[in-house]
């Protein structure tokens, strides 16, 4: 499927802070989960959202899926603001769906697969008879690689991989255009992981989905994503075409991530030993004023503590938020 340069989803100026009260009379403090995040999802692409804990990637995923309201900012689906006064805009609710990480909690343990899928089928087509729902449900099961025998089972009778397939079936039964996949294979065994990833890609082609793929596994990013956005402490620090990011990463955090990831070795990632992992991320409650990576950055200078660098275009679609990008980019040129 050709990726058009049409942004099917636009994320603008998203801010989300979570209040944390310190002490009885303490001032209200906030965990800055997301701070002024902008993002576009192009139709037909797989955009990977990468980050470690505290990066905000899961929060962003939930906001995009319409499960969490941002404090500020907009999410536009084909130009339409998805959040309206009461909640999610009804007409487009089904266009954005999500699958989550934990197969143990993604299905209601009291319901059979038939009921679980039936609920979503009937949400799309309310008037169907029981037999019609059954037909659709079985078609869905086959689409995700399960046999019709699974229809009368309960979640605890299925393996983790099978439960994830059901969760995927439920998501696609809504006929979405955008799928947010939040660490969907992280909790699965390696041998099952590949099966689910291949299923996801097959469905993407078959159904014309645009996918936001949230993960911390750089190998998976290399395998399936067209573009990748690297997040650190609530901000996007680097974004661009996957090959460009892997072969010539600009932001020091991206380099550190690529160097530390065991699976990035199989991808043709640029591993720079100067960026060996060091230091600890600061508390997300009071991030440092300037660049948030300053506490661990091997090339930080004085100016870095003054203000957070904006995302700057490096080359083509590749952008990074680092004031020393010219030195880094020069380094690559010299190598060529």
């Amino acid at each position: 499927m050709v990726i058009t340069m049409e942004a099917i989803l636009s994320v603008r100026n998203i801010r989300k802070y979570f209040p944390v009260s310190i002490g009885f009379l303490g001032s209200k403090k906030y965990v800055r989960a997301l701070d002024d995040v902008d993002l576009d999802l192009y139709e037909g692409e797989v955009l990977a959202l990468v980050g470690e804990s505290g990066s905000g990637k899961t929060t962003l995923g939930r906001i995009i899926a319409g499960l969490l309201r941002p404090d500020q900012g907009k999410i536009l689906y084909r130009g339409i603001d998805i959040y309206e006064k009461g909640g999610f805009k009804k007409e487009v609710r089904h266009k954005i769906q999500a699958v989550f990480q934990n197969p143990d909690s993604s299905l209601n343990p009291r319901l059979q697969i038939f009921d679980i899928l039936g609920e979503s089928i009937l949400s799309r087509e309310p008037g169907l008879s029981r037999e019609e729902v059954l037909d659709r449900a079985i078609k869905l099961l086959k689409l995700v690689g399960l046999v019709e025998d699974h229809i009368f089972k309960y979640p605890h009778e299925l393996s983790g991989g099978e439960r994830q397939r059901v969760a995927i079936a439920r998501a696609i039964s809504m006929e979405p255009e955008i799928l947010v996949a939040d660490e969907i294979v992280t909790a699965l065994d390696v041998s099952v992981r590949a099966q689910i990833m291949n299923l996801l890609m097959d469905l993407k082609e078959k159904l014309g989905l645009s996918i936001i793929f949230i993960t911390h596994d750089m190998g998976l990013v290399w395998s399936i994503s067209d573009r990748v956005a690297i997040m650190y402490l609530g901000k996007i620090v680097e974004i661009g075409p996957t090959e460009s990011i892997f072969k010539s990463p600009v932001h020091p955090y991206t380099k550190m991530l690529l160097y530390s990831s065991p699976t990035a070795s199989s991808a043709e990632a640029y591993k720079d030993p100067n960026y060996k992992a060091r230091g600890e991320p600061p508390s997300p409650i009071d991030p440092p004023k300037g660049c948030r990576f300053i506490t661990r950055c091997p090339i930080a200078v004085d100016k870095c503590s003054k203000e957070h660098p904006p995302l700057t275009r490096i080359f083509g679609e590749h952008m990074a938020a680092c004031i020393r990008y010219t030195d880094t980019a020069k380094g690559y040129m010299l190598q060529k």
Partner: protein, 298 residues
Amino acid sequence: MERREILKKIFDARKKRREEMWEALKANRAAYVSLYIVGALVIMAIMGSLVTPYNPYDFDLSRARMPPSISHPFGTDELGRDILSRILAGARYTIGISVASVALGVLIGVILGLVSGYLGGLWDIIIQRIVDVMLAFPTILLAIALVASLGQGVASLIIAIAVSTFPVYARLVRGVVLQIVSEDYIAAAKLLGKSSTYIMIKHVLPNSVSAIIVQATYYMGLSILLASALGFLGLGVPPPTPEWGSMIGSGRTYLFSSPHIVVFPGLFIMISALSFNLLGDGLRDALDPRTRVLLRRG
């Protein structure tokens, strides 16, 4: 497979699950026995007054305080009334009041807990403050105060006990709801565009049932004790109604001289409270699909 076959399998699986729950309950001997005892108590409550060997209100001072004998298996009380008959007739009050007050308390508490836990925000703050204030009062004092202001009688007793106990349900249900709300299948229901009310009723409530049932049956026991305590204090149903608690109350003067007057109602109170508790434990384990799986698969 043909459609019909599949539908049949779906229903068979549901039936099997219900049977498994039943088996799980039976496996717990204490709970299983308690189920029958509770059943017997309920029957006693409904029909007790019809099968009394004597009129529970007939008093005869000449036959007062007689120890258990063949004609009076439980003896007679301080006014010469047959204790067995009074126990049978009194079941209606003690058990009936407890069941009604627990039902009412659970209803109020569940609604408040659901709203508080699921909707959160201002709802949560307001409801929790109310609950906090009410929990600050010792239950029995609250009940006494309520009965005192509402006047004596079965209805006020039920209301008093229900009001004294619903805060505990509200808090418990809120806790359970908060846990369930963090599960991904709730988020999945939101993705379908379902309303909060729908999600609360169709997804949150059924998964909270097992916790609610345990607390409800435990509180059944507590209600029985509470009703009896109020009766003992003279605040329950007015005499000569044979409520078990008031039987103990009026008979306590003779605790050492004619202990049977107090022992039998006390025994029945104890058995009732205990059976409800044990039944509750058994039900919780039987109803929670995950515990059952653990017991089954390991």
